[in-house]
Symmetry: C2
Subunit: 327 residues, 2 copies
Amino acid sequence: MPEHLSGQTGRYAADLPAVQEAATRIQPFARVTPVLTCGHLNQLAGRQLYFKCEMFQRVGAFKFRGACNAVMKLNDDVAARGVVTHSSGNHGQALALAAKLRGINAHIIMPRTAPRVKKDAVAGYGGTVHFCEPTLKARQTMTSEIVVSTGAELIPPYDHPDIIAGQGTIALEFLEQATSLDALVVPVGGGGMLSGIAIAAKALNPSIRIFAAEPKGADDVARSMASGQLVEQHDAKTIADGLLTNLCDATWAIIRDHVEAVVTVSEQQIVDSMRLVFGRMKVVVEPSGAVALAAVTSDDFRGMSGMDRVGVVLSGGNVDLDRLPWT
Amino acid sequence: MPEHLSGQTGRYAADLPAVQEAATRIQPFARVTPVLTCGHLNQLAGRQLYFKCEMFQRVGAFKFRGACNAVMKLNDDVAARGVVTHSSGNHGQALALAAKLRGINAHIIMPRTAPRVKKDAVAGYGGTVHFCEPTLKARQTMTSEIVVSTGAELIPPYDHPDIIAGQGTIALEFLEQATSLDALVVPVGGGGMLSGIAIAAKALNPSIRIFAAEPKGADDVARSMASGQLVEQHDAKTIADGLLTNLCDATWAIIRDHVEAVVTVSEQQIVDSMRLVFGRMKVVVEPSGAVALAAVTSDDFRGMSGMDRVGVVLSGGNVDLDRLPWT
């Protein structure tokens, strides 16, 4: 990301002061989500776990934090022209709600193949849905057209300093709610949440250990960390549909320098973890949201020493209740 | 219930001091469950709702409160002989866990037709499961046999002053967590929770209005209130399997004198409400647990005036995730 876009003077797209400012900015709108514990899951993990429950965030996922920060930070002239993004997932809903709360338009571009429930969700938050052909080119063309015709500000799902800073507010809450955490385990897709949390948590507590949790079927971050450079993946396949995307330069730079390791998990581990969250914690979690639990209950992670108290981010709960993956 | 069993000098099986003592007694063991809100459900109900989330209680349901109070209150000599109950539901699990925490035996009698998962749940909490034929007579016979052979104390699911007082602790927490509530809506089966909450809430705030929520297929409380005397029902049929039981004299006396009205709901309303809790609140609720939401979103309740802030008890979350009723 070019320096002039980052709004930061440091070497990364976001830093602790930016995250703290984001927390102040979104405080009137976002929820402080609860941290839950579960004795049964502690036993499975072999350590004390603390779960940050972002399914209780507005729109049912952490994405509202970043979208809200980005929308509320716009100056009035820019905001008046509205915002635009392409997303058939939680970011689209989050941006629609944030725009509604600011009283401006949100244009959400999604492929015409997206399920009707996704369109309805965005429309329910007051966003305008634009359908395009389900190709990258069609999406980019339509985004450009809307930017040109409306002057709306593009707010991408993670490649944006204000999004990264907004997602980082999770760390500020989490480290206050669950004290003396030795490590945090965070799911990674585009890396907005992981990088925001990592930059904030490490600034607050340099000895805290940060781990990424990633599906084996979309393991570009594991391969990037192994090779030391950003690896792109175009054949990602996983039930965790929020984690299909690649990192960008802004998130990669932070992750490369702050994340100790990536724990990859199988599809079966993801489904099993999802069911455990439903059955034992009595909380609804989406597949992407259960990936960090799958990581901490894996043999790889259980074998690591020196961590008694581990924070796990359950990132969202927007799942198709008619097609739960174990039924 | 005979006066000598009630442990109370008043006219009811429990009173506010008994509930307050129960709260102190269970405090080291039970969770203070969170109160959640949901904008979408407020819209459906036409008023501000506060949800007391008892699926986050230990064993996944409010039943732990009463069982814990009853077990911890036993004197050491009695406790040493263990406890016994008949239940294939949440009370059995709750009694097993409470006994385990006290370091005593729990004998849980259930019909041999009960699903294996129910047996495993009780065994998982350290209880001893005894199977009997699925008839009332077989159950009573086996209960008597175990009482005689072991000297264990019978702790029934609701017809017991310490159970009623324990369930009443919900009201103490709820009225502190959500201030200025105009009404409480509570599901009713045997009436232990409803009577405990009613006696405590009315003592703390005489102007608070108490409503019962009941499935139309098990509407013995609605008919009891209509006729002014305890009506028994032996053909109850509802998906809300925690609400099939009849009131007893102890719970009926409190309900008759403290509950304003019973709101009955259809099976479809229960299933729809359950799905709303999963989908909108991101919380797992069992059918019995969703009955109070079904009540407050019914036309009957929406039509009542003078209530801006209503507390709704979501009583538990132990549902078969392989057979969710909408799939």
